[in-house]
């Protein structure tokens, strides 16, 4: 199969925007993506795949055509993927498949969500709809509770403490403070992160990402198209995998098997391994999730994530920066937009367009997007300077 390239990518600011609709946010992201590409026009787009968790109930059906028609992609086939928080990571994967298969020369992938203009209870409802409903949720847990259970198992299994969760928050906020698109773009101290109110023991508020409004868009194109663009990032590897939706149904609570499988598949396709990765955007919906991601993605051995955090290697300027964008924790988490937004960050890093948070010498980047507590995972290995 032929190669596929990310030739343009953009996102709206993530945050709380009572004056915006999901369509207007998507338009902002789309325009930035198109503007970043050079050499591709809207009329070149053959196919669109977008991700959303039903826009928080506002548009459960056909929100895909609603956004593409809104931005003038009249008539372009658009399908919407629902894979909870991994929806638009999977949308990118679908766009890559469309291009690699030859069915499309230019495919648009994206995502959007509006979460902040509803009451906290309604938001909690929507955050909870992707969990295992009949058993897991009906014990009174949303995802905070399920990830907290994973955290408890991790703390029990390995030499780790809640301080490691706090350190992840401090790191990601430090990065997000350098990202003008971040929802919570401020720095936090270790004391702030340690002393926040408990949401689900052992996770406190600083160990949990916010819910955000936002949209992201990525243009995936064939080599022919890519060669005419300003920057082209090769999609070296894609991997995706599913897992049982309820935590209690799984073989392990201290590893996310879908992430492991997705990463293994992406590395294999890329012919690369964890050692080749210069930076990673990982799915840190909760701080424990980032620690698990280090291990699931092979960035360190099982049980060594706390050491990796302690070493400073995953900070910006470290050996292997993780979440230079600020991650879900600081940049924000507009559910359906998150996965595509990670690819936006990877594109910017690999194109040398990441500004103050630029990872020096970034050539290989990895994105890792998880749905729910691991029911779906998708990993992209992206390579800059290939054309």
């Amino acid at each position: 199969m032929r190669d596929a390239y990310i030739v343009g990518a953009g996102q709206s600011k993530y945050g709380a925007f009572p004056d915006e609709s999901y369509r207007s946010l998507f338009a902002t992201a789309f325009e930035e993506a198109l503007g970043s590409a050079g050499g591709v026009e809207a009329a070149d787009i053959d196919e669109a795949v977008v991700g959303s968790l039903g826009v928080g109930g506002r548009q459960l059906g056909l929100s895909g055509p609603a956004v593409t028609e809104h931005v003038g992609l009249h008539g372009v086939p658009c399908s919407r993927i629902e894979n909870a928080c991994a929806a638009s990571g999977y949308a990118v994967r679908q766009a890559v498949q469309a291009v690699k298969s030859g069915m499309a020369d230019v495919a648009l992938a994206g995502g959007y969500e509006v979460m902040t203009d509803m009451s906290g209870d309604v938001a909690k409802y929507w955050l909870g709809v992707s969990g295992e409903t009949e058993w897991e949720r009906l014990t009174g847990t949303t995802f905070a509770g399920v990830y907290a259970q994973m955290a408890s198992a991790y703390l029990d299994a390995y030499d780790a403490s809640p301080d490691h969760f706090s350190k992840v928050a401090v790191k990601n906020h430090a990065n997000g403070a350098k990202n003008p698109k971040a929802h919570l773009g401020f720095e936090c101290s270790l004391d702030d992160a340690r002393s926040a109110p408990v949401v689900a023991d052992p996770l406190n508020l600083y160990h949990c990402c916010p819910t955000s409004d936002g949209a992201a868009a990525v243009l995936v194109a064939s080599e022919d198209v890519a060669s005419a663009c300003d920057d082209a990032v090769r999609v070296a590897g894609v991997g995706a995998a599913s897992e049982r939706v309820g935590l209690f149904q799984r073989d392990s609570y201290t590893a996310v098997e879908s992430s492991e499988r997705a990463a293994a598949a992406a590395y294999e396709m890329a012919g690369l391994g964890p050692d080749d990765v210069d930076f990673a955007e990982v799915h840190d919906c909760f701080a424990i999730a980032e620690l698990l991601a280090y291990e699931d993605l092979g960035l360190c051995e099982r049980g060594h994530a706390p050491k990796l955090v302690d070493s400073g290697a995953t900070e910006l300027g470290g050996e292997l920066p993780v979440n230079p964008s600020g991650g879900l924790k600081s940049k924000g988490h507009p559910i359906g937009a998150t996965g595509a937004g990670q690819v936006v960050e990877a594109y910017k890093q690999l194109a040398g367009r990441a500004g103050d948070r630029q990872v020096a010498g970034a050539n290989v980047g990895l994105t890792h997007n998880v749905g729910g507590s691991g029911g779906a995972a998708v990993v992209h290995v992206l390579e800059g300077g290939a054309l």
């Binding site: 309604v122 009906l138 509770g145 994973m150 029990d156 949401v199 689900a200 609570y253």
Partner: protein, 526 residues
């Protein structure tokens, strides 16, 4: 006993279970809040937790009675539930109770309500219904009495309102039989009543009128027994006890010593447990008699007779003589000495003290309802499909590889086969594998009210033991399921903690309470 002619077999009490919630409000806290008052003779009142009601308490008592009697729920052939405070005014709770206990679907269920004498009526009716004339074997019956009365916050009824449940297994070899039944009814309106549609019991508050109605009905029912109470000299007299003083007012009329009434009463420790009151008293009398048995003179059987009287406002009373003998003079001589103590498993005393404000929160007096915005929607039919799992922890054993699945549906997690499952009922014990405690703001909307009532709640993933028992290692199998953890004094339970399943209200939606299991740390289990 002679085998000549048709024999009449009356089932006897073969096991007693009692469950009183572990939360309690001391009378001192009530007095502090109101500046005076409190129910006479009541030291503390039991308070049902936010996820408890008469049905969960009935299940807890029923499980204890079955264990005490050594009878399997599947062998029960008649189930009676008595309560003045069923979770719903209409919709039979006894059917759900049968399911929660594991009593079979073709077993007659009878529900008694409408008066605090309902428990006594249920026992009399069950004893009558299960009498076996002829030489056929009689199957055991279960009588469960549970109540959780309420009153308006400022009322005497609220001051004394307690909670509790008791259950009796009746079986052929049960040592304590219903020997005589006496009934009395005489209109005394306004003495204890609840208006249609109201959750609050009240009375008109004419003190002497109400005392007289009580004394007259109790004495009348005892008189109707045709047995002289003084001559009967029961070891204990267990009376409906709206407060801790009223039963003693009946002592004179009955001609029994106040000590006998004390022996059959726990109202000072539980508050007004409505219909369950005299049955909790019975459990206590049989339990303490059993405990004290070793100190008694040799050869004396404990608690050979109890006089139990259920009184209900309005007014009526039902009196039962429970004895190890039979009233029939011809067989009395042969039925005396071969008795043994009735086994009792009772959790009568609370161990978690509440403030008055906490008690109001637990009862839902000052908390809201499920917030707008919608909870997770699990339709009632979808919930119904999982009732064997929710009520009785029925897991599935893969017919391909033998691994356990919970719930038993979909592909086997072990071998991946989309095979059939054989039902396997788990014993309910297990080990915590992962745990959290959901803080304020962390609960989904349908659990917000529970959190308002009872605060932060722990949730664990539990590796439930396979049918082989503890650790799952016994037969190499365990199966995981998530569960809320009730009464975890240390907050979030530790991984590796042992827990056991308990019946609880999970949540309420569309006016339908969903019952299921939670777990309690074994170390904190009563």
């Amino acid at each position: 006993m002679s085998a000549d002619g048709p024999t009449r077999t009356t089932l006897g009490i073969a096991g007693v279970g009692a469950y009183v919630p572990r939360l309690y409000l001391p009378a001192s806290a009530y007095r502090e809040a109101w500046g005076n008052g409190g129910a006479p003779g009541v030291e503390r009142v039991a308070v049902a937790d936010a996820d408890e009601d008469t049905l969960t308490m009935a299940t807890e008592a029923g499980q204890r009675a079955l264990r005490a009697a050594g009878v399997d729920a599947g062998d029960i052939d008649h189930l009676a539930l008595a309560t003045t405070t069923p979770p719903n005014d209409e919709e039979e709770s006894a059917v759900r109770l049968a399911s929660l206990l594991g009593v079979g679907p073709s077993v007659p269920t009878r529900q008694f309500s409408g008066s605090t004498r309902a428990g006594a009526v249920a026992l009399a009716a069950t004893s009558e219904a299960t009498q076996n004339v002829g030489d056929g074997a009689s199957s055991p019956a279960l009588v469960v009495v549970a109540d959780s009365p309420r009153g308006a916050p400022e009322s005497d009824e609220a001051a004394g309102a307690g909670a509790g449940a008791a259950a009796l297994v009746l079986a052929e070899d049960g040592p304590l039989v219903v020997d005589a039944v006496g009934e009395f009814g005489d209109p005394a309106p306004g003495t204890r009543f609840r208006e249609f549609g109201s959750a609050e019991t009240e009375s008109i508050g004419v003190t002497q009128y109400e005392r007289d109605a009580y004394t007259r009905a109790v004495a009348g029912a005892v008189e109707a027994l045709g047995v002289d109470a003084a001559e009967l000299d029961p070891d204990a007299v267990a009376l409906t006890a709206p407060d801790g003083k009223l039963p003693y007012r009946a002592a004179n009329a009955l001609g029994v010593e106040p000590a006998r009434i004390a022996a059959g009463s726990v109202v000072s420790r539980t508050g007004d447990a409505g219909a369950a009151g005299p049955f909790l008293g019975l459990a206590s009398a049989l339990d303490s008699a059993g405990d004290a048995g070793g100190d008694e003179s040799d050869g004396q059987s404990p608690a050979t007779s109890v006089l139990l009287v259920g009184y209900g406002g309005g007014a009526g009373a039902t009196a039962l003589v429970l004895s190890t003998g039979v009233s029939d003079a011809a067989s009395a001589a042969s039925a005396t000495s071969a008795t043994s103590a009735v086994p009792v498993e009772a959790a009568l005393d609370g161990d978690v003290e509440l403030t008055y404000a906490e008690a109001l929160r637990r009862r839902g007096t000052i908390t809201g309802e499920e917030p707008a915005g919608g909870g997770a929607y699990v339709s009632v039919p979808a919930w119904k499909r999982t009732i064997p799992q929710r009520h009785r922890l029925v897991a599935g054993e893969c017919t391909e590889c033998g691994a356990l699945s919970f719930p038993p549906e979909g592909a086997c997690a072990e071998c991946g086969a989309l095979a059939e499952y054989d039902d396997v009922t788990l014993p309910g014990t297990g080990t915590v594998e992962a745990a959290t405690a959901i803080g304020q703001g962390g609960a989904p909307p349908e659990f917000v009210e529970q959190q308002q009532r009872a605060g932060s709640f722990p949730v664990a993933v539990v590796a439930f033991d396979g049918p082989g028992g503890e650790g799952g290692e016994a037969d190499g199998r365990a199966v995981s399921a998530p569960a809320q953890v009730v009464h975890s004094p240390a907050g979030t339970p530790a991984i590796g903690d042992r827990v056991g399943a308990v019946p609880r209200r999970i949540y309420e939606q569309e006016g339908v309470v969903r019952y299921g299991f939670k777990v309690v740390p074994i170390a904190a289990r009563r």
